[in-house]
Amino acid sequence: MTLAEMQFLTPDLRLASAEIFIALMACLILMFDLLVKDRKRTTTFVATQLTLVGAAVVTFATSSGEISYTFSNMYVGDLMGDLLKLLLYLTVIVVLFYSRGYILEREQMAKGEYYVLVLFATLGMMVMISANHFVTIYVGLELLSLSLYAMVAMNRDSVPATEAAMKYFVLGALASGLLLYGMSMIYGATGTLEITAIAERLYMGQADKTILVFGLVFLVSGLAFKLGVVPFHMWIPDVYHGAPTAVTLFIASAPKLAAFAMVMRLLVNGLIVLAHDWQTMLILLSVLSMAIGNIAAIAQTNLKRMLAYSAISHMGFMLLGMVTGVVGGDARFALNAYSSSMFYVITYVLTSAGTFGMILLLARAGLESDELDDFKGLNKRSPWFAGMMMMMMFSMAGIPFFVGFFAKFSVLQAVVAAGYLWLAIVAILFSLIGCFYYLRVVKLMYFDQPTNTSAIQAPLDVKILMSANGLAVALLGIFPQALMSLCAFTLLRSL
């Protein structure tokens, strides 16, 4: 065997170098942490953050702008993946900063494992983002899910957390089963697990439609579980509520990016020929999510639970962009539609991270601060952070000049362009209902008297980051063009 042939057989590791880096570093940090005596684990924390920064550098440096495959086409590197990964690192870095104070106050969480689990979960999401193969997707998804189950249960003596972990695990396993079953059906119909190859075979019309659609139903159900859209949403409120807030913050932010990538890879890259079928399913999921998410959120008294229902409705709204890509076999709206969904997800993650970060900011001395009433009179305690939270709430409600408005705007624009006027009207009526509970948070902060008048104590880095997060929500709302065209550009180069 000549040297040239050897090289041919070696997979191009360059595309996966960021993943390899994180995997190595996670193992190293796990071992290294055994030697750390510091109860605060400052070194572990710094090492984790540096790993994420390093991964960002690697991703940025190895990004080629071309669509390229490696590991026998199991793995794809493209601009969409690179952008999502960079945003993923950023989100995780911010999440770690926000949650540091919280986990230090809880003995069972203040361990090196927390950071390692975060790194493994990040790795899982990266694999999901870059997967071009059903097995790769599944491996990434399980790596993420198993890390999350452990993180939810980490505060071991907390009954709600344990219950949430159990529910999450059982329902997550069920969802994985559904997903795998759907994948096996599609494998049966097409004879391959490779996403691009599936797309080709479907395009040639070589597959049995009945089996395909049967498989598709399970696949979409599995995806819906992971996205947390109605009727597969039951785990979301319990897990968001029961999990330690630091973990809720993590679950409510970064995995949404990966879930979006998974939808793109499976449905758009793989099954675009069946767009008509999955779009119909997604319309149903989307409308139900907006309805149940927004209406159920009104009845909540716990902010985490309220935001859980709000997350359900936001994921439903995001799906609206996905259902308008292909109209009557015409895919010319696809780029517009999918990039609007992508913009929606990214801005949602930004806002969601800020909102849960605020709950962490208010949590003091081992006590939670996640009831709605804990936000009473925040304007008296800290006008600045009340202002930040208000911007976040108005952004989620879709009021300009905050970024949430342009997220809703771009998705609705795609929906109207595709000719689904009724869908746009339905979406907008439910977001009106949604507005009510966001306004209620503003009401608590501004109109009510505080029950607790203590000033907010938080480390300076968290305060700065929180302010940056809030200002980003406003600035991106005034200048949304850059991020919008970035989404459109990366998708254009990746589809």
Partner: protein, 494 residues
């Protein structure tokens, strides 16, 4: 002055001033916050004055146009410009902001910086609405202006403020969301333009026009407000602090009416003709029925709130006569109502600050203790009733003249309510001001101070000036109104 971006200044000077005021922080710096707000409001007014002096009366085209690309991805532009219809409102709004800052000078002692900043920011946003020529820009200002008013009602309002703030926000948002769908529909059918001016020229079929018109109608009818979606207004007025009521009555209500002129009539002219009966009917209900509702109110603010709805009924009635007299009369009525209703709410605020009641029954004989106040209040009550020589008369009279041309019975119905209007205002005035001193609260009232006197003078100059010599107001509108009517007369169906 041609190079100065006057409209941008009109928008951003107050908003920036608002943030500067916010930065003064806690109430320890309240005097500084007040002073800065006054400077900001005056600067905001000052930059709008060249809009009047530099205004070209001959053209109906947009003036002081600014155009910058904002979101090229959706062809959204930062496109500003005013014509004779919108320009007066920019100035009126900036003027009202000065009076609002003055009105809250001694009264507001709690979170002064936030209170004044709210009004300054809102002033900038409202100017943005009147000068936006891009659909998205308009919408963004339109919705964003809900936030400050929501907070103002909710934080500084009366006992039932939470209910009123929510009702205000959700009602208006409901209307504007359908409006957003209409904008997106126009964007798609126009082949990717958000320019209001493009939409005005674009041919649209009758059924599409009808749907668009209805979507616009919902949005603007809530804002005007027209019967039957008016119920949020009395609540909002009753609970809002005096400043909030002044802005709400003087400016916020005008947005809906302005929307009719900027969107409904020129973009859907055929549907406007087709459905004019509907709007005229709703306007007449507002004028007559709401007039009678006002008659039976016990609360002064509620009474003036209902009278605002009735007066705005004249405005929408004037628009849908499709005659220059009607539209100009309606516009005059809008500006006049800005002065008069602002002054009425301020008068009630002056009494409320002293006696902490808005109930008519709690007063009586105020003239004995507050003679100067009673004189001013008399003037504005007369203007509200539409007495000749006050601004209230000019607009209503022009609308009724136009209505006579249109249909005798419509004119008859509208004119007959001038009697009701006089009845509820003057009856309230009589019960509150005249007679013997009713109780010890009234006996302890002190007359208006210099600051309140100044505010009254400002309002009085507006109300009387417009009544005696309306020409400076009408001449700027003339070309734009004629051009609008010429445009509306042409069918857009192809």
């Amino acid at each position: 002055m041609s190079g100065t971006p006057l409209l941008s200044l009109a928008i951003w000077v107050p908003i920036l001033a608002g943030f500067v005021v916010l930065a003064t922080g806690s109430d320890r710096n309240a005097p500084l916050a007040r002073m800065l707000s006054l400077i900001g409001a005056l600067a905001g007014l000052l930059v709008t004055l060249p809009l009047y002096t530099g205004f070209d009366l001959q053209t109906a085209a947009m003036q002081f146009v600014e155009f910058k690309s904002w979101i090229p991805r959706f062809n959204v532009n930062y496109h500003l410009g005013v014509d004779g219809i919108s320009m007066p409102f920019v100035i009126l709004n900036s003027f009202i902001t000065v009076t609002v800052v003055l009105a809250g000078w001694q009264v507001i002692g709690n979170k002064v910086a936030q209170y004044n900043a709210g009004f300054l920011i809102m002033s900038g946003l409202l100017n943005g609405i009147f000068s936006a020529l891009d659909g998205v820009l308009f919408y963004v200002f339109f919705e964003a202006s809900l936030i400050p008013l929501y907070l103002i009602i909710g934080v500084w309002g009366g006992p039932n403020r939470v209910y009123a703030a929510f009702k205000f926000f959700l009602f208006t948002l409901f209307g504007s969301l359908l409006f957003l769908i209409a904008l997106l529909y126009l964007f798609v059918t126009s082949g990717g333009s958000f320019s209001i001016l493009d939409w005005q020229q674009m041919p649209i079929g009758l059924s599409a026009q009808t749907w668009l018109f209805l979507a616009f109608l919902v949005a603007f009818a809530v804002k005007v407000p027209m019967w039957p979606v008016h119920t949020w207004l009395p609540d909002a007025h009753v609970e809002a602090p005096t400043g909030g009521s002044i802005v709400l009555a003087a400016i916020a209500l005008k947005l809906g009416a302005y929307g009719f002129l900027r969107f409904s009539l020129p973009i859907a002219p055929d549907a406007s003709h087709e459905l004019s009966g509907l709007v005229i009917g709703l306007s007449l209900i507002a004028i007559i029925y709401i007039g009678f509702v006002a008659l039976v109110q016990d609360d002064m603010k509620k009474l003036v709130a209902y009278s605002s709805i009735a007066h705005m009924g004249f405005v929408t009635l004037g628009f849908f006569m499709f005659s220059a007299m009607g539209v100009e009369g309606a516009l005059v009525q809008m500006i006049s109502h800005g002065f008069v209703s602002g002054a009425m709410f301020f008068s009630i605020g002056v009494m409320y600050d002293r006696a902490h009641s808005r109930q008519i029954a709690d007063y009586g004989g105020v003239v004995n203790t507050m003679p100067k106040f009673a004189a001013f209040f008399m003037l504005f009550a007369m203007a509200n009733a539409g007495l000749p020589a006050t601004s209230g008369f000019v607009g209503e009279f022009m609308v009724i003249l136009a209505a006579v041309d249109h249909s005798f019975w419509v004119a008859f119905a509208a004119a007959s309510t001038m009697i009701v209007g006089a009845a509820y205002t003057l009856w309230m005035y009589k019960r509150v001001v005249f007679g013997a001193v009713a109780n010890h609260h009234v006996a302890e009232l002190t007359d208006i101070n210099a600051r309140e006197f100044l505010i009254f003078v400002l309002f009085a100059v507006g109300a009387l000036g417009m009544g005696l010599y309306p020409q400076p107001f009408t001449e700027v509108m003339h070309s734009s109104v004629n051009e609008l009517l010429r445009h509306v007369a042409l069918s857009k169906i192809q």
